[in-house]
Symmetry: C2
Subunit: 271 residues, 2 copies
């Protein structure tokens, strides 16, 4: 059964999905820094017969701004290859006729330009960072508690992330805060939501078993992908911690030092 | 069994414990306002043969400042009769040799004057209101995540409270946020912690069945007291909502319009 495990499964793969922060680059001051070997690894994947998509829970900037940053770092990447929670949220809002109160980073607001935000009947929170003030959280809370059927969307459910100057609280923490305040359950848009992974697979025209997810977040990247029927490989960069390799509920199909090693192993299997 | 229920149980009572905000007064701009009949009701209890204590989860001011406000509103009350979470927390910190990082309202800080706060090995959060900024919450998070055995104390676990200008998020919401961020369970000091109620009973020298709690918060006042073996009566003032009277898990021993009515019913039973 070597072919069904890692890296044997690479023989029958048709596509690869890459997480971005912690796999391609480390965030921080300015544009952050590319992780050694990652720029070349993306080039090799693009030169191969594999389909490639990028899948991020980044919600501090529009996809356009975000992709421009990656391009400045040296990555061969375009907006149409990138899946992020905000455009997925916009689709859900329109489909369900919902008008959001936004608690998101200023840089993300243009993603919601096409959405009616008057007289809000739901709340959308993203990684708002400094905008998670008491006043702003209280405002979002008052919108929710004033609704007959409060609906809260959270763009991801991360606990925290690492920037070059230290750990930062992520959106999931504020999702839990509002869930408790209003006694409700948020709808998560982004990883690890199965709907989100499925939208990437649909775009590639692939079945789950034909795709592999590579990420640094064991639960949201690897576990989320596995939950959808994909393989999931974890890199030992970004937010990886050694204790991930003995996690009680999620076991990666493979663990590699970094994206460069993962890509070399995949391509070696296919030659 | 009329004597074991409400108000029959009042015949055998030896003491009464009163919640403060929402029972004695409504908070808001300045000192807030006394709830009609409450000043007189406290006087009647003090003139009776019943022991009386006050029990609050107020953590925005020292007990001294808080009691002075109540006295200005017209209440006959002294500091030694009031039980609040901060002094209880100080006792726990000293007993366990813990040095807190404080995320509390400025007005509460003097309560912790006698505690060593250098090189913190735990975090204490209270109702910090505007001080619950992203930066301050992140700072508390970094202290916790940097500890080998992170310990978080929460002064209460309320979801929100009502001020004259609207609903405000309470400390419990930020407790849940930090619990999720650090994957831990906070220790709650204050109502509805059984330890907290027991410390009031100890001070009165009473057994639980000899005391009655009167509060506006069904879960934290009434449910918490009942959990300790006391009777619990809810007033229809403060944060009372009609749906409290059909709550899935907590049923008050009695529900009354306000403190004045509760006290009249108690004293009538005893004549």
């Amino acid at each position: 059964m070597a072919d069904s495990g890692w890296p044997g499964c690479a023989k029958s793969l048709k596509g690869v999905i890459l997480d971005m922060c912690g796999v391609l680059y480390d965030s921080g001051e300015g544009d952050g820094v590319a992780i050694p070997g990652s720029i070349e690894a993306v080039k090799k994947l693009k030169a191969s017969d594999l389909l490639l998509r990028f899948c991020t829970n980044e919600t501090q900037a529009t996809r356009e701004t975000f992709v421009a940053k990656l391009q400045r770092l040296g990555f061969d990447i375009s907006v149409s290859e990138v899946f992020s929670p905000a455009p997925a949220a916009v689709a859900v809002l329109k489909e369900r006729g919902l008008r959001p109160h936004l608690l998101v980073y200023d840089g993300l607001i243009p993603e919601f330009d096409s959405v009616n935000k008057a007289n809000p009947n739901c709340v959308v929170i993203g990684d708002a960072a400094e905008k998670f003030s008491y006043q702003n959280l209280n405002e979002a809370f008052r919108v929710l508690i004033g609704l007959e059927k409060p609906v809260l969307f959270s763009l991801g459910q991360g606990r925290y992330y690492k920037e070059t100057d230290g750990l930062k609280l992520d959106v999931g923490v504020y999702m839990k805060a509002l869930e408790y305040a209003c006694d409700l359950k948020a709808e998560v848009i982004g990883k690890p939501s199965p709907t989100f992974f499925q939208s990437v697979l649909n775009d590639m025209g692939l079945q789950p078993h034909e795709a592999l997810m590579i990420g640094d977040d064991l639960v949201n990247d690897v576990g989320g992908a596995q939950h959808c029927g994909m393989k999931g490989v974890q890199v030992r960069t970004g937010k990886y911690r050694p204790c991930d390799e003995r996690h009680p509920t999620v076991t990666a199909d493979g663990t590699v030092d970094n994206l460069a090693q993962a890509v070399d192993m995949i391509l070696n299997q296919r030659h």
